[in-house]
Structures are given as structure tokens and as C-alpha cells.
Amino acid sequence: MPPLLSVENLSIGFGKGEAVVRDVSFALNPGETLALVGESGSGKTVTCRAVLRILPRVAQIRSGRISLHTGGKTLDLTGLSERRMRDVRGNQVSMIFQEPMRSLSPLHRIGNQVSEVLWLHRGASDSDAKRQVLDTFERVGFPDPERAFRSYPFELSGGMRQRAMIAMAMVAKPDLLIADEPTTALDVTTQAQVLGLIKDLQRETGMGLILVTHDLGVVANMAEQVVVMHRGAVMESGAAEAVLRAPAHPYTKQLFNAAPSIPAEASPAPPLDKEDLILELKHVSKTYTMRAGSAWRPDIQIHACRGIDLKLPRGKTLAIVGESGSGKTTAARIALGAEPPDPGGEVLFRPDPNRDAVTVHAMTRAQRTAFQREAQMVFQDPYSSLSPRMRVLDALTEPLEIHGIGTRAERRDRAAAMLQQVGLSGDMLQRYPHAFSGGQRQRLSIARAMMLDPSLIVCDEPTSALDVSVQEQILTLLEDIRDRMGLSYLFISHDLAVVARIADEVAVMRQGLVVEQAPPDTLFYNPKHPYTKALIAAQPTPDIDRPIDLKLVALGAGAPESWPDAFRFSQTVIPSLTELEPGHKVRCNV
């Protein structure tokens, strides 16, 4: 039997530049999954787009053949006319994109956008198309397909939008589905469910799947074949099991070592010593009021944080983990004094073990200035957190200028020294941020935060915009300067695996509440809370023997009302955070 899709010696270039994809070949059998793995700039996205010929206008396929064998016929996708190509797109080969938020038109109803595929390729009537779309909606897990049909994209959550995208790709029952990082923008529990859904659909329809991803954990869970790409060329390819068990190419090995993972076996860790605290959050709550916009409807109260008590010992790292909307960033903002907590809450900061603590939200002007020198922040997106119009020198010395520290020459020397501290070279001071890669920019952000010689740094998802190998380097850097300079970190993340390596204690948050809190090893050894269990189970690990346990994910990732009795909470009744063993707290009824 011929393969469903074969790509032979494909080369693609932009304009007159050097080729960005060089001599790539692979083949995919019907019903199989092939993973295209690589970091940003590896050419994996360009390669998969070349199959559908939806490349940017300046890109051309320079050589090679892409052929699709279906229904006993062979189509040469590289040579097909644009008009014939349209019949292939969405019909025989369909695609799911990375950002469900932006890949659907904001102005058209979901039903309309999905039905369109059937109108285009099947000439279906409105009622016919609607019937089929509703069937597909039910299949991809919309609780109320009729309602989803009428919805606009902005009325759905990210996971639901990605389900709508999957429905759109599946409704015409294609032979080949291309999924370009379909779960990268989703929370880890949602990712697990969406991956499970794609796998189920594939089993039912027998379609082939090309999965583009940077995550070896996803590969281990999904793929039969793997193609590892780096700088436009294939580094290694073969059966997933063989490659994952014994990677041969050094680049694959490097990817493996960089991939963060939850340890397979953990032993409980001793509780954290909480004598000398640098930061303490006491009963911190935050309620936002959303105006209903009408005198007849009551305003809506949103509880971003509810009764948070956290203690950060000096020189340690406390991580807050949770999905989007769990309140972790709000907690960090309150800790830094960027927002006041609701009355009754208090944040204490003690820069010096021998002096009294100051209350962050009741500081005098002088205390506030001193506090700003002591507490700094590293932001999530290194691309937007550095002004593109400021030279590195200006960006680094600005904090010193604001606080009136040193002469010009001294500031400059300090900036150069700091660049070396973060692994950059001192002669880069005159450059602008655009001359740096994402990882280098994040190093710049760290250098900027370090300029005032702080004792506390709040890291808000500092690695989530970075490639895995770069993430690994940044984490190493953060650990290194923490130990060298005696820093304390409040580390915000959605990723348990990242936290596993850097944190001394982890607080898992859900809907504004801390549901479980312990040192990471204790947490992995003996997770108690269903939500923590779901987070751990949903984490894809690059180990073929540890697949995602969808049952555990489904148990814990649902609404808190669906949890077992001991853990269940509602708007009014909330179990208290109980210390089950020393240093291990769980929100449950004992």
C-alpha cells in the first residue's frame, strides 16, 4: 500500500534568501500519526503549511515533491493548479492552528464558520450542513451543540474554541489532518483532553495526522512516527518508540535533556523551615466587581483570590501554580504592592532578618522607594517587556537613574558587569532589543531586575514564551543567581514540570483558592487533591511508558462541584486548608 502522504526532498526559501527548509523527506501511512518536532525557526511550521500550499507570499517551494494518495489516486500537491488545490484544502487535507483565539473570525457565528466547509466542498444545503455540524459538535464534546452553533468565538473559552476548530477540520471527514501546535496555547489539563479527543477521532475515522509540536511529551503520547527538525533540516526520523527510547542524534538528545518533566519517582521532602520569612501574605483576598451595565441586574463579583496565606523563607523559591484565571498573577501583583488586597488582608516584607517587617500596602513614601529597590519583577513576554526604542544600556541603567544611584560611569560599569552575570557580553550595551533572541531578551529582563541589587524577585511565567532548550538555560541562570546572591523568588507558573526543578515549595491554585501546598517532591510523591492529581496526570512526559492518564485528568479538572465530597467547594461552602502531614496542606474536609 502506498503511503497517504509522501514528502520528498522538499526545499523552501523566502525571497532570494537561503532556504529555510532543506531537503526534507518523510512519509505518512493512513491512520498513522507523524510528529514534526522542533524549536521555533526549525522550519516545521513552514513544512506543514507547504502541504496545503498556504505559505506566505514571499515563500516558494524550490524543489521537491509532495504527493497525496487517496481513493486510489495520486495527487501531486506541488504541481496542482490553485483551483484544484482549493478542492483539496478543507476537504481531503484540513488543518488546525495554534491560536484558537485568533484563528476564528470574531464577527461570524461558530456554526456559520464550520458549516462553510460543507457548503464549499459538499454543496450542502443550510439545514443539511447544520445537521452534520451539530453531530460533529456533539462528537467533539460541546455540552450544548445548538448553543455552540449560535455562539460567537468570544463567548467560548480557549478549550472550547479549539474544539470548534477541530470540528471545523473534521466535519468534511478529511483523509489527512495537520495540527500545528494545537494545544500550545491551552492549559495543561485542557491540552490533555484535546489531545485525547484528537486521538479518539483519528481512531474512528482512520485519518492520518501530522502533529507539529515542540513538546516531546506530546510526541510520546500521540505519535507513531517522529521527524526531528533543526534549522530547516531533518536531524533524526523514525518510529517514535525507537527515537524516544534511544535518541541517536545529539540534537534530539539535547531536546530530551532540556524537556522539563515531573520525576517518575519522588520521595517526600522535609517541610520547609519557616523561621526567617522575607515575604508573608496573610489572609489576602481580592474581589473585582464587574459592572453589569444595567440598573436592573446586580453587579457581578469575581473572587480572584480568596484567603491566601503564603510564606516565603529567605533564599528560597515559592512557586504558585495554576491554570489561567486561577488568581496566581493577581496574588503576585498584590505581593509587589501593585494592587491593594481586600480589607483584612496583609502583606509583610522583611528585607533584613534583624529588622521589623513593613506592611507593603501601608508604606510611607520613603519606605516605598526602599521597597522598590528590594523587590523586582521579571515578566512573561520578553518581546513586549523591553522598550524597542531604548538601548540595552538605557534600559539597564534606568532603575539606577530613578533611584539616583551612582554616576553615569558607575551605572554603565554596573550594567556591563550585570550583562556578564546573566551570560551576555558587556559590549552589547549599545544594541537595541530587536538584535536579541527571545532567550537573550529574557536574560536582559533578568539583568534589569538585578540592577538595583534586590532581595526578592517575582518571576511571572518567565519561561513560558521560550523554546524548551532556552527555557532550560534560563532556569539554570535563575537558580545560579539565586544561590550566588541569596535571592528569594516568588515564581508564578502554569507548568508543574518547570516548577518541579526550581521551587522549594509549591502552592497549587484553582479559582482563587490554594488547594494544595507542599514541597514539590512531597507533592509528586503523594498528591492528595484531585486537581493536583489532574495536573500531574495531564503533564505530557517524554517517556513512552508514562502516557497521560485521561481518567485522572477528567476527575480533577472539572468544576469544583464535581470533586469528591471531601474536596468539593461552592461559592458559599469552602473546606479549610488542612495540614495533613508536616509541610503538606490540602484543602479538604478531614
Binding site: I54, R89, G90, L107
Partner: protein
């Protein structure tokens, strides 16, 4: 239902805004020292024509110009009884023009409707020209189509309107036998509306519409092109192509719908810009629109006439923004659903 409620709300705010505008207009007109009558009285005194002075003094009393400014305002709008009882804008009395010695309503009369007509024609022209050209320029960006349309567009923006008017008149008359000047054949002036008169007006409209609309159209086209280019880079466009849509259908259904918003929102800005921008053109072309009247009235401090014209322009603006706001709510579900429970 939601739309209706919004439209009513929007209408109410429009009336409120109009009230504020009326205060501003009145105050600004009265800011320069003196008024038309006191200037005239001084002039008559200097030339020793005491008879005229008596008449002017009578007019001063008649139009309450001897009272305090706020009282003058209340009487003008019609909130307060003047020397002749309630007789202001809301009662339909637009006041007296001292310069032309006629009621304001008689002076503006027909030109009011011709102004609306000329400007509506120009707005229509702007949209009809800018829509296809803007979309085409974006879809074929960085090709000769894009460059040509941009060149012609900038030419249209840069050419002074009155110059364009003169050129068009010359060649329009030479090659197409288009009439020169005016908005209708002089024979129909002051005549009741009829089939022939309407036809004459339409033919006369061609050149003014073109002249007034060109710069607006090229600006709008460039804006639409820029908006479209922004939208064309968005992932949902890629989704549509990956579905197998043809380029023209995809363009019309997705990016154009999104790029359309600023296009619609511009209706409000277009109207006043055209009314005030077309003054010079109207003078050059001899159009019987309200523009030249406004110019004279402002120059001679003819307060009731200028105040009325300014109020009229304000009304056009406010109606334009109201229409565009209501249209936007109809077009964009994101605006429509705002404030509704998620």
C-alpha cells in the same frame, strides 16, 4: 429589541449634545466685541443718517439684543419668551438676518436641501469609489495596481479642490458638454420641483460631487487598504484559506467585514468635513449651498444667520455619528454583546 433601545438612547444623547453645542455656538459668536447692529448704528451715526439709527434701535429691541447674553440665548433657542412671546429655534423661528434684511429661513431655504444633497452625493461617491479600490489595493498589495491607485489617490489628496474644480469644468464642458457652475439651470431657480428640474440638478451635480469627494475618497481608500492589510495577516484569514475558500469570497466574507468598522465609523466625520471643506469649492463653482452664506454671515457678524448655519452643520455631524454608531452595533457582535452577561 436591543438595537431599538440603543437607538433611542443614542438619540437622547444626541439631543443633549445638540443643546451643549447650541450654548457653545452662541457664546463663540458673541465673543468678538460688538454685534452687527451696534456696528451699523455707529456707522450710521458717523455718516449722520439718524433715520436708519431709529430702525436699527428698533431691531435691537425686537431681537432682544439689549438684554443680558444668557437671556438672549434663552430667547434664541425658545426656552424663554422674548419681545414677541416664545419664538425661537424649537418653535421654528430661525431669526432675522440683518445683513440680508430677511428672515433666516428664507435665505437658507432651498440651499439647505441642496447642501444636504451635494454632500450626500459626495459621501456616496467616497464610499463607492473607496470600497472596491481599497480592497483591491490591499489584495494586490505591492503590485502595480496598488502603486497606481496609491499614486492617483495621493494626487487626489494633494490637488487643491478649487483647482480640480476649474480643470474639471473646462474639460467637462469641452468634451462632455457638462454645464458650468450652479446647481441647476438658472431657468429653474425658484421654480417648484419637477422632473426637468430634478434632471438639471443631477447633471449639475456631477462635477461638484467629484470635486468634493475626491480627497475624501483617496483618504478613505488608503485607510481601508491599511486596515485590510492588517486583517490579511491575521490567523483567521489563513483558516479560511485552509478551508478551501476562493480568494474573492474569502476577502469579502472575513477580512472586509472586520476592516469595515472604521469605514462605517467615518460617516460621522465625513459629513462636517465636507460641509466646511466645500465652502471654497461652492464659491468657485457658484453652488447655491449653505457654505458661501456661512462665510458672509461670519464676516459681517450676522449672528442669527451664522448661528443657524453652525447649528445645522452640528446637527449633520451628530446625525452622522449617531447613524454610524447604530450601524456599528448592527455590524459587530462584539460591540452588541458588551455589557451582557458572559
Amino acid at each position: 429589541m436591543l438595537i431599538l433601545r440603543y437607538a433611542i438612547y443614542r438619540f437622547a444623547t444626541m439631543l443633549l449634545t445638540l443643546l451643549v453645542v447650541s450654548v457653545l455656538v452662541f457664546v463663540i459668536i458673541n465673543l468678538p466685541p460688538g454685534d452687527y447692529l451696534s456696528n451699523q448704528i455707529a456707522e450710521l451715526r458717523a455718516s449722520g443718517q439718524e433715520a436708519g439709527v431709529a430702525k436699527a434701535e428698533f431691531l435691537r429691541k425686537e431681537y432682544a439684543l439689549d438684554r443680558a447674553l444668557w437671556e438672549q440665548y434663552m430667547i434664541w433657542v425658545g426656552f424663554m419668551p422674548g419681545p414677541n412671546g416664545f419664538s425661537g429655534l424649537i418653535q421654528g423661528n430661525f431669526g432675522w438676518s440683518f445683513e440680508f434684511d430677511q428672515p433666516v429661513s428664507e435665505i437658507v431655504g432651498e440651499s439647505l436641501w441642496l447642501t444636504v444633497l451635494v454632500n450626500l452625493a459626495a459621501v456616496l461617491f467616497v464610499y463607492i469609489v473607496a470600497l472596491p479600490l481599497g480592497v483591491l489595493a490591499a489584495a494586490k498589495s505591492k503590485t502595480w495596481i496598488d502603486y497606481t491607485s496609491a499614486f492617483v489617490g495621493y494626487l487626489g489628496l494633494a490637488t487643491p479642490n478649487f483647482l480640480l474644480a476649474l480643470i474639471l469644468f473646462y474639460y467637462g464642458h469641452k468634451y462632455f458638454n457638462l454645464p458650468i457652475g450652479g446647481l441647476m439651470d438658472p431657468a429653474y431657480e425658484g421654480q417648484p420641483m419637477g422632473w426637468d428640474k430634478a434632471r438639471s440638478i443631477l447633471i449639475h451635480l456631477i462635477v461638484p460631487t467629484f470635486v468634493i469627494g475626491t480627497s475624501g475618497a483617496s483618504a478613505m481608500m488608503q485607510r481601508l487598504r491599511a486596515n485590510m492589510l492588517d486583517e490579511l495577516g491575521k490567523p483567521y484569514v489563513e483558516t479560511a484559506i485552509a478551508k478551501g475558500m476562493s480568494p474573492s469570497r474569502m476577502l469579502a466574507k472575513y477580512p472586509l467585514r472586520v476592516a469595515f468598522n472604521p469605514f462605517v465609523a467615518d460617516i460621522g466625520n465625513l459629513l462636517p468635513a465636507m460641509v466646511s471643506g466645500s465652502v471654497l469649492v461652492s464659491v468657485v463653482l457658484g453652488l447655491q449651498t449653505i457654505g458661501p452664506t456661512l462665510l458672509t454671515a461670519l464676516k459681517t457678524q450676522d449672528q442669527f444667520l451664522s448661528a443657524f448655519v453652525l447649528m445645522f452643520v452640528a446637527l449633520l455631524t451628530l446625525m452622522g455619528t449617531m447613524i454610524s454608531d447604530v450601524l456599528l452595533v448592527l455590524l459587530d457582535p462584539r460591540i452588541r454583546y458588551e455589557g451582557r452577561d458572559a
